[in-house]
Symmetry: C2
Subunit: 433 residues, 2 copies
């Protein structure tokens, strides 16, 4: 069953018996129904977001309201290809007049539960799929030739670290590492001075493959369970000194934050970027990355923003500063192309694997998805600080800074969906030496 | 308790009631006692190698012969810091006259069991710790300046893929991918033509850390459970086109083979390279990588060899060709330095994480740990094929080729130890497109 097809679950007029889901600017109307995992009295549960609540799907499975493998033991890994049917069951249960109204004891206020990662991450892979990001970062090192020759042929990626993927709300320590300025004769060890965020989408693989098996673009488009927000925290000074010749390592692997919600492919179906708004991939991509449907609607229109607040701002009750706005439609490579490429050599995928888009930057400086870009003016010029409050500016992140990523889908004739948030606060590292 | 200390378990005169362990060239005398995991009647078990047998430690735990967390459920992740005490218990049980002689029904011939990975790998990290490898590969791209400026300061590494780490004996498919020769205007997709092995050590982390916690070199030296053999299969043509700017990805992540045996730090204690045979690290390393004990004995003297046989050679009964010999003492960075560096930014480690040394090459061409080096003569010169039999030569691997890595420790006055083998055979990829 296609996860892209519009059906009754996308109709804007449908309401839920959970009243808060029907409020106009609610992030989680019944048309959304994102998955999450949380802890209830010591037990790991799967939940679904509805209004201001989490509905406990593990409890529902234990009551035989839903019969999908894994839910009763708090796992999303066994849904496999059954996500569309599961959405229909949940929708029917939570819809106004639906049969689960008599199970309202399975509703928990979202602000009362401890969220977990949606999956125990098997492998985490970070792509580099925004051409605006790649071009702007490339121009810092190669002004005359910013984009490498392989960029428009290969969805470039590297492996990240799964042990340090953490759920939104987890504090993030400032890493220490080897630092060496251009003028320094030798490196020194100390706390990172150029700490940055990266605005990304997290793509959750929902189906497993065998070693040696590859997925076509069309298969890949269906193989995700859904999408969340992701912050690929980055230590730019560590990165600069360590990354040759094998790529980023300690500069990235101290923490990666993800939002707790998996916004399903089904919920995102109305928000695929229309073909007439999509640029073409030129030069044409190789056949294994080429799919007519994917070329026409392989990206989503997801509005993204990064909010930054200092400890002083929070103490003073000052609103967070919107440091960047961007959109998932800015990606050069589609999520389906990323997964097709990843599996093209027969690399085994496991349900719960996490792919990230790479920093999602647009062409304008205000849409730059990281401070490395956001405060860069040009070669040989000093960085331009961002004014985050009347009192404070930032070039890179300070201890106490809180970075919060939000996402939203909007389209005339459809209910708007929210992604929740991906948030983390920096504290001084407590690394022993 | 130090894992480096010599005690009665290292005395050469000690024998086992398992007769085959007492044969002079046996790989698994009672002084070795490597861990493994295997399947017995559908159950995952921890075992220990002794002579030609695996002794079933999970069965022993179920009979209360040994009381260490995790063994009874077939896991090595919970031994933690208790490995030395466990070794003493096993040694006493398996020694000539030891109490486990009446449990000989727990012995299984090694050739009768199905081996598993020693751990379910959490994260896999591949280092680049042989300076001979880094120099020789670097000289292919930068003849005048082969070693990058960071090499002698940072133990360079990148993240690998944990889903495709497989145990010795697993066949390995030839990956497909984007290939682009220097003369080609555009890349094409097809089977890798330059398939290679890489001779490495696999280092198994035995203890977990918290996020934000770092390990000193001295702590790192004790934090491994032990060591195995590892083949980091590599597609050189895929690697060349994809690796800029974020490092190797599909060129490496289709398969990584490891031997089933974890040779413990305790067993390796007599085989630490004497200080007088160890080169100094010059320039001196930063304090967080510097430890006097590690500088004097942080490497092991492990003899390594790579055997190559074609399908035709095996059909004809021809012995495998010894294509490389090397030694773990050729590493520039010690295993303790690798782990100290890895955790220096607070990156969380989990028991069962796998670190690999990187290709272990010596200075001589016969000690080159991969074909990329082994068949390279110099810049602008055609590669020199290796004659693997009277009929066949190799520049890179062909379908049907079997690569087998072996390891051996020897020292006067001590029993010699073997590492078993890490073996894999290439078959034509069955990647669909």
């Amino acid at each position: 069953m296609s996860k892209f097809k519009l059906d009754h679950t996308h109709e804007a007029a449908r309401l839920s018996w959970v009243e808060s889901a029907n409020v106009s600017d609610c992030q989680f109307p019944i048309q959304n129904l994102p998955f999450c995992r949380f802890v209830r009295t010591g037990q790991v549960c799967v939940g679904v977001g509805i209004g201001d609540f989490v509905f406990d799907l593990t409890g529902a499975a234990q009551r035989k309201l839903v019969d999908v493998p894994g839910l009763s033991v708090g796992q999303l890994t066994q849904i496999g290809a059954g996500s569309t049917e599961l959405r229909h069951v949940i929708f029917a249960g939570l819809e106004d007049g639906g049969g689960w109204a008599s199970h309202s004891d399975l509703l928990y206020p979202q602000d009362s539960v401890e969220f977990l990662l949606p999956f125990e991450v098997g492998d985490y892979t970070d792509f580099y799929a925004s051409i605006h990001h790649a071009t702007r970062v490339g121009s810092m090192f190669r002004p005359d030739n910013p984009l490498l020759p392989n960029y428009k042929h290969i969805p470039i990626a590297y492996h990240g670290r799964s042990s340090t993927v953490v759920v939104s709300g987890s504090d993030v320590h400032r890493p220490s590492g080897q630092l060496k300025g251009d003028q320094d004769a030798l490196p020194a060890f100390g706390p990172c001075k150029l700490l940055d965020y990266e605005l990304e989408l997290g793509l959750w693989v929902g189906q497993s493959t065998q070693s040696g098996q590859s997925l076509s673009v069309a298969e890949s488009a269906q193989a995700y369970l859904g999408v969340g927000l992701l912050n690929d925290w980055s230590a730019r000074d560590i990165q600069k000194w360590e990354y040759q010749p094998l790529g980023p390592f300690l500069a990235k692997n101290f923490a990666t934050s993800v939002s707790p919600w998996v916004i399903t492919l089904e919920a995102l179906a109305p928000f695929r970027l229309p073909a007439n708004l999509r640029g073409t991939q030129d030069p044409p991509v190789l056949d294994y990355l080429l799919d007519a449907v994917d070329q026409s609607n392989g990206l989503w229109d997801i509005q993204l923003e990064v909010l930054l607040s200092s400890a002083a701002m929070r103490a003073a009750g000052t609103e967070p500063y919107q440091v960047s706005t961007s959109n998932a439609k800015e990606l050069y490579w589609t999520p389906a192309q990323m997964l097709a490429h990843h599996s093209s050599n027969g690399c085994r995928m496991r349900a719960g694997d996490l792919l990230a888009s790479g920093t999602i930057s647009g062409p304008a400086i205000e849409s730059a998805g990281c401070l490395l870009e956001r405060t860069w003016v040009g070669p040989e010029q000093p960085r331009r600080p961002v004014q985050i409050s009347n009192q404070e500016t930032r070039i890179f992140l300070q201890d106490g800074d809180c970075v919060c990523i939000k996402g939203r889908c909007q389209r005339d004739g459809f209910r708007s969906l929210g992604f929740g948030q991906c948030q983390g606060t920096i504290f001084a590292g407590k690394v022993r030496h």
